[in-house]
């Protein structure tokens, strides 16, 4: 597989800590994601996985530590600036713009590439019109990545979409910004087996077709073990293990912290 152990480091977390008041949600985490990898973060609920995503995407700022992407620090960047650097994401609880059409959702994702200064917009200057047209075409192209359904229904409101397609549309929106790194927060949550199998396929296709590095949070072992190049395990905000899927599967700490509990809960 591509870049299992070697390769250029794309994203690096150095001793990243985040505390809220007295609660330390993420505790001195180190992480290295290499170009072209599919890297999974797993761990029980409340382990701090989504907080790590929020830290990377600029929704939170680390209490201490540093996040480096593509050679430069993401310190004090707001989410939109992080996106412009090339990191896009989806959300665990799908945050689509429900009252926008499918097409508009796909267009919003390309916001950084369309002029939004008053002058260009009001007078519909050529650069604005060209960018809108280009964004429209690219939106169609991205929507068709998931087959014809989203394209056919492009003028419908996103709220009308079925669950699995909502997840897909969120990925389309994220791809609009032409990211180098895509963060997927539980991309198969709430999906049945068939849908999950399909999701596994398109995540792999995403990496190939868009030349992406993918960081994902996932609960389903079927997914993480099947597609990850490497896996990190979090528990109580700490990284307790990291390695190849096979290694993780047999790590005692992991079994105790995560797998064991998971089986009990299931």
């Amino acid at each position: 597989m591509a870049g299992t152990s070697k390769g250029e480091v794309l994203l690096q977390l150095k001793h990243v800590t985040k505390s809220f008041g007295g609660l330390t949600a993420v505790d001195s985490i180190d992480l290295e994601v290499r170009k072209g990898e599919i890297f999974s973060i797993i761990g029980p609920n409340g382990a701090g996985k989504t907080t790590v995503f929020n830290l990377i995407t600029g929704i939170y700022q680390p209490t201490s530590g540093e996040i480096i992407f593509n050679g430069s620090s993401l310190k004090n960047l707001s989410p939109d600036r992080v996106l412009r650097r090339g990191i896009a994401r989806t959300f665990q609880n799908i945050r689509l713009f429900n009252n926008m059409t499918i097409m508009e959702n796909a267009m919003v994702g390309q916001h950084p590439f369309i002029p939004s200064d008053l002058f260009s917009v009001t007078f519909r200057l050529p650069n604005y019109r060209a960018a809108e047209k280009k964004a429209h075409n690219r939106a169609l192209q991205l929507l068709s990545f998931f087959g014809s359904e989203l394209v056919f229904r492009k003028e419908e409101y996103a709220a009308n979409l079925a669950y699995a397609f909502r997840r897909r549309l969120e990925i389309v929106r994220a791809l609009g910004s032409r990211p180098k790194l895509l963060l997927l927060d539980e991309p198969t949550a709430g999906m049945n087996d068939a849908e999950t199998a399909e999701a596994i396929k398109y995540i792999q296709r995403l990496r190939q077709e868009f030349d992406l590095t993918i960081l994902l949070i996932e609960h389903k072992l079927q997914v993480t073990m099947g597609i990850s190049d490497r896996i990190a395990v979090l528990d109580y905000g700490r990284k307790i293990a990291e390695g190849l899927p096979a290694e993780i599967q047999h790590n005692d700490l992991v079994i105790e912290a995560y797998l064991g509990r998971k089986v009990e809960g299931a």
Partner: protein, 313 residues
Amino acid sequence: MIVLASTSSGIFIQTMVNGITLGAVYALVALGYTIVYGIVELINFAHGDVFMWSTAITLVVLNSMHVSTAVYGFTLIGLLLLMIVIGAVVSGTLNVVIERLAYRPLRKAPRLAPLIAAIGVSFILENIAELWLGASGISYPDFFPNGGIVLGDVTIQYIDVVVVVLTVGLMYGLNMLVRSTKMGKAMRATAQDPEAAALMGVDINQTISFAFLVGGVLAGVAGVFYSLVIPVYAYNVGFELGLIAFTAAVLGGIGNITGAMAGGFLIGVIKALATNYLPNGSDLSDAVVFAILVLVLALRPSGLLGQQVPDKV
């Protein structure tokens, strides 16, 4: 009953004393904002008018009892307690009814909707009062005797002492209520995560109603205190006082009960000083309070005593 001393240091200390007394009133009203905001994340714009209705009703009751001069001894204690109870019942009930009729149906609506509803309620409450008792100020029967503790140049009125002591007592009680009682725990749980609280068997509607009740009761008591310190009723007093008290709540960190108290006293003192020492101070002190509001929001939106909390993402 604002008294002014003659020497400059005396004036300063007297201003501080007057500020602290009004600060107690602001603190009580600020608590209503903070408690409600903490639970439903709504700025209850009508809260100042809920406060005003306590002053209006107690004014009418006092007039109907033909109280017009100071009373003493047990009569004073009885009358004071009666007014406090009436004010508390009026404002508490009003606040609960408002929540039920105007805010509850909008709980699922976009954030803008309940805020706009709150503006509407504020308008309605104010204008009903104007229709009822008129637009001009009415002097409030000042049944609390004059006089106080004289310390050189400075006079601490008895009413100041009563207001501050009772306010601090109420706040202590509120703290106990929130910390130790079952209802208090339900309130805190709902504030943190309404969905989880509901799953754990907390009756969300009842808890929210209770929060509005507590906020209203405190505003009602504040209405009586305010009227005894500044014995003039005005239908629109709630608007300005609401804005000041909200600033106090923000200053202390909205959602933070101790913060609201501290903020109330602090704003009281600052406003009193601004009123006294600025040209056109009685007008411009409002501008000062507003400037504080903007500064706090811009520089430290979590307030002086607030702490950063994670947003649910």
